[in-house]
């Protein structure tokens, strides 16, 4: 599965150096390079330019001119620092919860169901099944399910488990819940691909060498599944940090749960404050890049365990 390729650095095998530069390889790469240049590098360049723009003097709202206004960045960080922090905390929490749900699920499908290929295929389909329905619709459905009038909330109210006048939607809980729910397949599939290949003879060897089942799990199974866990966490954390659907007021969030994605959306589309939105986007990008490279470096296969 394609997800496996993401963290497939488990066994660094020295590949023979390609000496001859093949023209065929270059031709095959060309469409990809063109596509990236046109739709990634060019917009990125434009985004950087926009982030330094200054408002046109006596101009209309949304009119900006090319400038070199560094202050955009400092302003963005001081104004929206709270949102940036919140984005990372929410994304990290959702990633941890998604991992806690996904690992047992992936283990069950990849290892326990190994002897029943048909059931295994069915279970995998069920994991992917939510994708058959739009992401927006699913999140809206959760808004309904968690709304004040829903059976779930009235049940909690009947048991007096919720404080007077409390809501479920619009809270940090519901946003993290939504993020976790939406990204579980992205976490489950890469872990599944790792565990599916897990050679159970290593687990047997662990038991043979006096490791209790728990010890074997943490010292043998988890490290061997690490490529899947790492790619699953990246696939969950990166999009979750920039997500603006779950935290939006129209879905599971409220103004008090706004994440960086919501702020960017508001600045671009509502306030037409393009330089601020562009600077925020670049700050988010840089933050994720730094965060992820530290994570990948730390969890690099050589340092696992």
């Amino acid at each position: 599965m394609a997800f496996g390729a993401f963290g497939g650095t488990a066994t660094p095998v020295a590949e023979p150096a390609v000496r001859k530069r093949s023209k065929v390889a270059l031709i095959l790469l060309l469409p990809g390079i063109l596509y990236l240049g046109l739709f990634f590098l060019a917009p990125l360049f434009s985004l950087v330019l926009t982030s330094f723009q200054a408002p046109v003097e006596f101009g209309d709202v949304g009119e900006y001119q090319t400038a070199f206004k560094w202050e955009n960045y400092t302003a963005v960080i001081s104004t929206y620092g709270e949102h940036i922090l919140r984005s990372f905390v929410f994304a990290a929490t959702a990633t941890v919860f998604a991992l806690l749900f996904s690992f047992p699920l992936a283990y069950f499908i990849g290892v326990t169901l190994r002897r029943f290929p048909l059931v295994q295929a069915l279970a995998l389909t069920l994991v992917i099944a939510p994708f058959f329905i739009s992401f927006l619709l699913r999140t809206l459905a959760w808004k309904q399910l968690l709304s004040d009038e829903s059976p779930f909330v009235s049940f909690l109210n009947t048991l007096q488990l919720l404080p007077e006048g409390a809501h479920v939607t619009g809270t940090a809980f519901s946003v993290i819940f939504g993020l976790t729910y939406n990204f579980i397949p992205f976490m489950t599939l890469p872990i599944y691909t790792s565990l599916e290949k897990l050679d159970l003879r290593y687990v047997e060897a662990g038991g043979d060498l006096y490791a209790s089942p728990a010890s074997t799990f943490f010292r043998v199974t988890v490290p061997l599944a690490a490529p899947g866990i790492i790619s699953g966490m990246l696939l969950t954390f990166i999009p979750a940090a920039g997500d603006y659907i779950n935290a939006s007021r129209d879905f599971l969030g409220s103004t008090s749960t706004a994440m960086i994605g919501n702020v960017i959306e508001a600045n671009f589309l509502v306030l037409q404050n393009y330089p601020t939105a562009a600077a925020l986007s670049l700050v988010l990008m840089a933050a994720i890049l730094i965060f992820v490279s530290i994570y990948v470096k730390k969890s690099g296969t050589d340092d696992l365990i």
Partner: protein
């Protein structure tokens, strides 16, 4: 197993009435086996005979359907693998790919919280002469080196019982020989009990003190390698351990010393103590290297069996010895191994020859000739499973 300490010495292993059934077939039937402490014991048999299952039962990787497993007198039948004072050298080595060689070897020591795990691991690696590779990962080592690491990883724990699951199978001949000797040395040095499972009869014979030949979930015969080779009791053992020339006939005469068997009109004498059956139809045999080739008809002497004349149909030269195929009317093809005392073969194909052997070298088998040939090529795992399945289906239809 006690934390923080090694086993004092090798322990004896006792299997009592062990039966293991898998859905659809029985791998082991009512197996009783005692392996004394400190011995090197080999379970020998073709694939699918139940030897690996036996090993896995002892290691705790499979649960017995019935019966008891005792290690050093302690019942371990219902304990988990990590609680047993047993270590295994797996056929696949199963070295943890995410750990270095040193971490692999120290793994068991660390789990048991034994002091100086790193120093002891280095010592074990020195024993297999791989200490200089301690920082490498398993996939950077050759097959033979990995095998030695697997051995070090098991031996370093000083288990009361060390299980070896065809550990030399993947090695080339020269390396295998070297490892056989090293294993034997290690076993004598550390005084552990070794249980070695293999399908390689030569490996079993050169290394083990006691060999048990297994077939279809049962032990056919057990004893010292020389004893098994010189006096096989069943056709399976006679053919699985080396080669044999087998003849069937009925006993025509017997006294307190020997029995005389009529094989296609020829009288063949077998010592009574070397024969399992003394009346009726019997199968007797002799090893190919015990046969002497004669180009002139020898005199009939007491204490010598003589058959022939026959014709040499094939001669194949293998350096140390030459193997001759001799066709004798009524007796079929007979194999003769002769040492190359002169340069090259002594006769060529088509020559007329007579064969003799000392009666003391013959042996009589316990099999009923009516069942023979029970040694067929259908002894691999798949064929066995098919057989068992067919039998089960037949039973179901009857019911």
């Amino acid at each position: 197993m006690a934390q923080g300490s090694f086993a004092e010495a090798g322990a004896d292993l006792e299997l009592k009435g062990i039966t293991k059934r898998f859905p659809g077939f029985t791998a082991i039937e009512e197996l009783d086996l005692t392996i004394p402490a400190g011995s090197f014991f080999a379970l020998l048999g073709p694939s699918g005979c139940g030897k690996t299952t036996t090993l896995r039962l002892v290691a705790g990787l499979e649960d017995a359907t019935a019966g008891q497993i005792l290690i050093g007198g302690k019942d371990v039948t219902h304990t988990k693998p990590f609680q047993r004072p047993v270590n295994t050298v797996f056929q696949s080595y199963a070295l943890f790919p995410h750990m270095t060689i040193l971490e692999n070897v120290a793994f068991g020591l660390r789990r048991r919280k034994i002091a100086d795990a790193t120093a002891k691991a280095h010592e074990a690696l020195k024993l297999v002469e791989l200490d200089h590779l301690a920082a490498r990962k398993p996939q950077q080592l050759s097959g033979g080196q990995q095998q030695r690491v697997a051995l070090a990883r098991a031996v370093v724990n000083r288990p009361a019982l060390l299980l070896l699951d065809e550990p030399l199978g993947a090695l080339d001949l020269k390396l295998r020989r070297q490892m056989q000797l090293e294993l034997k040395d290690i076993q004598q040095d550390v005084g552990l009990t070794f249980l070695h499972v293999t399908h390689d009869q030569e490996e079993a014979m050169t290394m083990a003190d006691t060999v048990a030949v297994m077939n279809k979930g049962r032990i056919e015969q057990m004893g010292a390698p020389e004893e098994l080779y010189e006096l096989p009791k069943t056709a399976f053992v006679a053919n699985f351990l080396g080669q044999s020339n087998l003849f069937t006939g009925s006993v025509t005469n017997s006294n307190s010393e020997s029995i005389i068997v009529d094989v296609a009109g020829r009288k063949i004498e077998v010592p009574r103590v070397r024969a399992q059956r003394h009346a009726g139809d019997v199968t007797i045999g002799v090893r190919p290297e015990k046969l002497m080739l004669h180009t002139d008809a020898p005199k009939q002497l007491a204490g010598i069996n003589l058959i022939g004349p026959g014709r040499v149909t094939d001669v194949s030269f293998s350096g140390v010895s030459t193997s001759y195929q001799v066709a004798i009317p009524g007796l079929g093809q007979i194999v003769v191994f002769a040492q190359n005392m002169v340069f090259g073969p002594v006769v060529t194909a088509g020559a007329e020859v007579w064969l003799t052997w000392t009666t003391d070298h013959g042996f009589g088998l316990a099999d009923d000739p009516a069942d023979a040939p029970r040694f067929a090529s259908d002894t691999d795992t798949h064929a066995l499973a098919v057989q068992k399945r067919e039998k089960l289906e037949a039973e179901l239809e009857e019911a």
